[in-house]
């Protein structure tokens, strides 16, 4: 069972923070198909938030097919987000380590690497999105 937290300084709406925490848990394998999410009442009480906020988060996850509500029982995880992403990570990580070593040899400091990755990431993903939109 996971325990939810709310970040008072976050820009994200409370219900979205709950959604993201469930997804994070699914990605890292912390929660798996069949696991039960905390009861709405318990989340509302422990975080002192509106029960409707918790319901909204669970409905959002349900609409994405990640969880299912069983009336009178609770909300259960249907599928995981870990699968292919986790499997592909080892390979990608090896390539990244090799690349980082080359960057270091070429004289790049840690901050240079971070800046290069961030700008390249932004440019690449943005281009991909634009292409998808045109297609």
């Amino acid at each position: 069972m996971i325990e939810f937290l709310l970040d008072g300084y976050s820009q994200a709406a409370p219900y979205m923070q709950l959604v993201q925490q469930v997804k994070q848990g699914l990605r890292t394998g912390l929660i798996e198909p069949g696991d039960q999410l905390p009861k709405v009442r318990d989340v509302a009480e422990s975080l002192a938030i509106n029960p409707n906020t918790v319901l909204k988060a669970y409905r959002h996850l349900e609409a994405e097919g990640l969880v299912e509500g069983r009336p009178g029982v609770g909300t259960f995880v249907r599928r995981t987000l870990a699968g292919p992403t986790l499997a592909g990570q080892a390979e990608l990580r090896r390539e990244l380590v090799a690349w980082l070593r080359r960057a270091h040899k070429a004289g790049l400091e840690e901050e240079d690497v971070v800046a290069l990755i961030q700008t390249t990431m932004r440019a690449t993903f943005r281009n991909d999105e634009t292409r998808e939109e045109i297609a």
């Binding site: 709310l6 409370p14 709405v40 009442r41 318990d42 509302a44 009480e45 422990s46 975080l47 002192a48 938030i49 509106n50 029960p51 409707n52 906020t53 918790v54």
Partner: protein, 294 residues
């Protein structure tokens, strides 16, 4: 959709002063509503009329579909915690629960005892000797013992320290999740209620300034920043709530009724707090009508 509370042209006058005037509002059943406004805005007056302790001077008020004055059946269905959670200080929690059982037709004694015990509050100590937070919890347990359809709380956490505030809200939210209770809580600070409310009523100077579901209100309002421009009509804007100008720039907080397409304006989201502060700082007497029409 059924309404837990509905007022039309509601007003209350004390001698010469109007504590509440032209108050038209509705609160859909099942919501947790914040009644926000500075001290003296009319919050307590509205709550006291809703529970039949005060009679309106003018206008109509329906609570759970009925008129509250001298209506015993209706009072069975309403829970009320008055400002500063008053309890008889010489009575213990057990005695207050017994008294509640004698005075109310609808009453769950074991539920009340269980709530008080679960919080570790001594049932046999005079409530005058309990801490402020514990007294507030006892008052809440008493109000919840009626299993009310509508629960009204007047500044329930104003006098509590931050830890007691949180504990009070935890118990309240947990209890609300168990049933279909509609809740109306008043506060002069939005911060106390921001995480719990999904409906908002802003009162200022005896008038309703803002009314509606929190999600709808937040998405309807935007901050616009652009080159300096004197008051002009902007497509997509239904009302300018607040405006400020420098020699080059104009900043507006607006209510929208469509997308803002004019590229001269950059459009930013607002927080609930921005919104409430803007309406409190720039009150307009005609606004109630806008809210009700939504």
């Amino acid at each position: 959709m059924s309404m837990a509370l509905e007022a039309h042209g509601l007003g209350k006058r004390y001698r010469r002063n109007w504590a509440l005037r032209d108050c038209s509002l509705h609160l859909p059943a099942g919501r947790i509503a914040a009644l926000v406004g500075p001290n003296g805005a009319g919050k307590s007056t509205l709550l006291n009329m809703a529970v039949g302790l005060l009679r309106p001077t003018e206008g109509t008020l329906r609570v759970l579909g009925q008129s509250p004055g001298g209506n015993r059946d209706l009072m069975d269905r309403i829970g009320f915690v008055a400002q500063d959670t008053p309890l008889y200080p010489d009575f213990t929690a057990t005695e207050l629960i017994t008294m509640g059982a004698k005075l109310n037709r609808r009453w769950d004694t074991s539920l009340a005892r269980e709530r008080v015990e679960r919080l570790g509050i001594p049932l046999d100590r005079r409530t005058g000797e309990l801490s402020g937070g514990q007294r507030a919890q006892v008052a809440l347990a008493l109000a919840l013992a009626k299993r009310p359809e509508l629960l009204l709380l007047d500044e329930p956490v104003a006098s509590l320290d931050p830890l007691a505030r949180r504990e009070f809200m935890q118990v309240l939210m947990g209890s609300v999740a168990d049933g279909e209770t509609t809740v109306l809580l008043s506060s002069h600070l939005l911060g106390d209620l921001e995480r719990v409310c999904d409906y908002l009523i802003v009162l200022q100077a005896a008038h309703v300034q803002l009314l509606g579901g929190v999600d709808e209100l937040v998405s309807e309002h935007k901050t616009l920043v652009g080159p300096r421009r004197e008051r002009a009509s902007i497509a997509g804007v239904s009302e300018i709530v607040r405006e400020s100008h420098t020699d080059k720039q104009t900043t507006l907080l607006v209510r929208t009724d469509g997308p803002i397409l004019d590229p001269a304006w950059s459009v930013h989201d607002v927080t609930l707090e921005d919104l409430v502060l803007a309406y409190l700082a720039y009150p307009a007497p005609g606004r109630a009508i806008l809210g009700v029409a939504q």
